[in-house]
Symmetry: C2
């Protein structure tokens, strides 16, 4: 339908701008913002190239797909996202989850594995796009904080286990702790000493560079900016050094594993890879895709909001969800793997002075050039060096201290956290996260299943009613007043039945039961059925049911059923009116 009048055009434009915020901020770009963005893009590229290669390895994918996963996703996020600093692209947690999920449907490294990894990214992208379009940001609520931190910490340990084989030069299983320890026991004599030397050397150099390079350069008189830039580029410089060494020594022939031959150029956007998709494969990838989608959104939105808060900016939750959906779709169609927001790169983007999402577009251009011209050099890069890069990045992922904090704060939350951590480490990533979500829901239902219900009595000389256990109040032997402190829904409806049955059994002279509903904010169909049941049982026992101080929304809802028409007692505006009328 073409827009025929001005308001319709404006509405359409606004809707387009909701989906593509670039249409709003695009006109604010100037030469000054462009210079700032170009500087930032150069710094970020130096950090991104080694990370992209390493996280591809972590996902079990060819190293070059890490570059593919950085180009188009950056472009799509820049056009659809609302944060100028969130860095979309390869990220550790998503890569290891992708490996675990796709490893269940195809042999690692096979063409089918590569196609399934891309398919998983497309599924994650489609889910995020749909959830964003339906404004389903509430799904983030399913991942409670203790469950998330328990999961991420265990995932960090699993990532470390998955990279140790590359550093030790021996084959080790890493899907869970048991498999890792068993294979370590079986293969512990097979350490490849040259690989181990290169791996340890890389770890030590990276660690030393991170710790001493920047202050060292400053002490030698280098300007702060230059020292900072060099230390950020250190991982890339170390990789170049490693490539130079392996290219000029016989180490490859002596068994040092390297990245190997990779295709040059940019990937063609293609749907051909998905022709072998079977319904069984889609079914197996469904739950992992959903978990990755929710996890990606949760991480991304906390980064985006955290960054926006400092500038008193606003982030549009739904637009962020759609943007990351688009980024994953783009990654999958580039033949790469699931992507997300990288915490380390987001911090660097903000620190290096990016002003608009143009910085991300420029980063994508630089990465594209790297994919075009750098790939021939990558073949000599030792896997041990890439693995070292990943190991060094794990510290920021794991948070063991949070276990102690949660234990002190709440045993129930700790139980959910420990269950998530243990299941992730001992079974696998998907089971761990699922167990955590189920456990926090179950604990919530358990906790909600016993709302506080107090018998109240009149504070003499006033119209106030208070808990009989805490205050000196007067009650009437034929009237029982119960105050329900909470909304009534399926998890606690039966408790209310139970509690009222107990009260009626212990008050033999009872003729009137009044429910004081001033704290009931909502009521669902299960609670309504329970009220019906309660009223029926009270009638059988010769007791009338009354309600007092029912809130507007609850009253509206009750009026949509026939409950009030058949109520044995009355509905009173105030509790005092009820007691006065019934004791008369």
């Amino acid at each position: 339908m073409p827009p025929t009048d001005a308001p319709a055009t404006a509405r359409l434009a606004a809707r387009w701008a909701d989906w593509f915020p670039v249409l709003r901020w695009g006109r604010d770009c100037t030469q000054a913002t462009f210079t700032a963005d170009l500087t930032s893009a150069a710094v970020v590229t130096l950090l991104l190239i080694p990370q992209a290669l390493a996280y591809a390895l972590l996902a079990g994918m060819p190293a070059v797909t890490g570059l593919y996963a950085s180009v188009l996703p950056l472009v799509v996020y820049a056009l659809m996202g609302t944060s100028p600093v969130v860095a979309a692209g390869p990220a550790a947690l998503r890569s290891v989850m992708s490996l675990a999920a796709v490893g269940a449907v195809a042999a690692t490294g096979s063409p089918a594995f590569i196609a399934a990894s891309a398919l998983l990214a497309v599924m994650v992208g489609a889910m995020l796009l749909v959830m964003g379009a339906l404004r389903m940001g509430f799904v983030a609520g399913f991942l409670s904080h203790p469950v998330l931190s328990g999961f991420v910490t265990a995932a960090g340990l699993l990532i470390a286990m998955s990279q140790l084989p590359h550093v030790l030069g021996m084959p080790l299983a890493s899907q869970n702790l048991g498999a890792f320890l068993r294979s370590l026991w079986q293969h512990h004599t097979q350490v490849h000493s040259l690989t181990l030397a290169v791996g340890l050397g890389a770890v030590a150099t990276l660690w030393a560079a991170r710790r001493w390079l920047q202050p060292g350069l400053r002490r030698l008189g280098t300007p702060a900016g230059a020292a900072d830039l060099v230390s950020k580029a250190a991982p890339l410089l170390i990789m170049i050094g490693a490539i130079a060494i392996t290219a000029n020594t016989g180490w490859e022939a002596r068994g040092l594993a390297v990245v190997g031959e990779i295709p040059q150029g940019l990937p063609a956007l293609t749907l051909m890879a998905f022709t072998d998709t079977t319904p069984e494969m889609l079914r197996l990838l469904l739950l992992p895709a959903l978990l990755i989608a929710v996890l990606t959104f949760v991480e991304q939105i906390s980064m985006a909001q955290g960054m926006a808060a400092k500038r008193r900016e606003r982030v549009d939750t739904d637009a962020e969800m759609r943007a990351m959906g688009g980024a994953n779709l783009a990654s999958g169609l580039s033949g790469a793997f699931a992507v997300g927001a990288s915490f380390s790169r987001t911090v660097v983007v903000a620190e290096s002075g990016a002003r608009t999402p143009v910085a991300a577009l420029l980063t994508a251009v630089l990465l594209g050039l790297a994919a075009l011209f750098l790939t021939p050099w990558l073949r000599h890069l030792p896997l041990a060096v890439l693995a070292a890069t990943i190991l060094l990045a794990l510290g920021s992922l794991m948070d063991f201290a949070s276990f102690g904090r949660t234990w002190r704060f709440s045993r129930a939350d700790f139980a959910a956290q420990a269950l998530t951590f243990g299941t992730t480490l001992l079974v696998d990533l998907v089971s761990g996260l699922t167990a955590g979500v189920v456990a926090s829901l179950a604990l919530h239902i358990w906790h909600s299943s016993r709302p506080h219900i107090a018998e109240v009595g009149n504070v003499p000389g006033t119209e106030h009613y208070r808990n009989v256990r805490r205050h000196a109040v007067t009650t009437h032997p034929r009237i029982l007043s119960l105050r329900v402190d909470g909304s009534l829904f399926f998890a606690n409806a039966r408790f209310l039945e139970d509690r009222i049955a107990a009260e009626v059994a212990s008050h033999p002279d009872l003729r009137h039961l009044i429910l004081l509903c001033n704290a009931v904010n909502d009521i669902d169909a299960s609670a309504l059925e329970s009220l019906r049941t309660i009223q029926q049982r009270l009638s059988d026992a010769g007791v009338l049911l009354h309600l007092s101080e029912v809130k507007g929304p609850v009253m509206d809802r009750l009026e949509r059923s026939d409950f009030l028409a058949h109520l044995s007692g009355g509905v009173f505006l105030t509790h005092h009116q009820a007691v006065a009328a019934l004791s008369a």
Copy 2:
């Protein structure tokens, strides 16, 4: 450890009496209660024999196991239960769920199928015993009322589909609506006319007897009691008639399916049947067993409470759970199938004047005699007659009117109900119930994810604070007061972050944010993390965070963390004190 002093003995006795309430009511039995109980037992037996045989057929088990499922479970429930009228034993819903679950691990009718059915009953029993011992009655809360009624209605339709083959004399699939319609289309020419005639004859006779027998006998001058008894015994009399006819005609030779040869006597309690159990079988039966256990408990407890309410008696939820666990364990060890509380028989037990659980013990004795001496006669019983008995009982199970009631009351509840109904009918029983539970949890989280948060201002001349949108109140440009109407937990913690970020972005002069917490009843670790995040972001934006009117339990909890120690603002006893101090 032997009891060494009187109080310890008394405690031990009390604990035994908790598990076996018979130790409490046993001493109240007199000759008068015995006579009443014996009369009731005789009436119930007449109803139970045909039901037991029919529900065994429904579970895909040999008819005689229906009798086994009635003897020991009745005894165990009588000793461990707290309701004198709840009738434990075969029940329609559990039988069809048992068939669906066990059908997935063994071929219907095979020895492995019979063993797996008994194993399922043992698993259900063990789960109920453990949940009862751990006082986990809250699990009933997972089954919301709309989900339960959607499930039971769809299950009723599936039961009807499973019995039609016996009435039509043709093979039909019945695991879901699609399979049923497909096989009906394939086999619609194969109706066996003799079977159809017997089946329709049985349905018509049973329906006529239910509708006209009791009033007809009364009109002919029969005393009320006798008329009632004859009409209750009608299904049994019709079965006896059918047996007499098939035994004396050549109908079996003409292809009328009958119960066939069955072993005589009582089953030996045996664990031998479980020697072939594989871990894979246990894994496949785990979810169905859990769902059957929860469903059984929910149905049983509503019957027990409903019956107890009329007499102002109390039911012990945990004892009921353990009693039904014991009954299922007994049924499994007798080589039978999962049992529960039967609604129709419970009503008959109460109406026929049972006074104590001795009535159930006497029923068990009568059933045992039936199993010993009746079985030779059963071989001629046509399956079409048993199926007719089941079809006639379905009316009470299905509740189509509840869909309309739920639709009018709440669209969210209706969605959960319709999803459960549709999935049960179109996929299978276990998927349907699982989908319903997941949907009601998801809807609850969605609903809880946006708590009401109001900006409040001072009612001039008072110390009261009210919503700025509804009342004429005064506010301060540098102070923002937000009242949170609900407990804070993982599902809504992020919404709070979001909402506060929006408020801060739209109040450029803001210096102080006060959260009025008088309606916050609880707070979990996720909400605590969100408060930390909020405080960090507010600090970045130069705003201090204060709390006012924090309830005791929430304050206790916050004090167990270091949140209050690092709070940028203060904690105020009343909101007015906070505003007064900060605007000064």
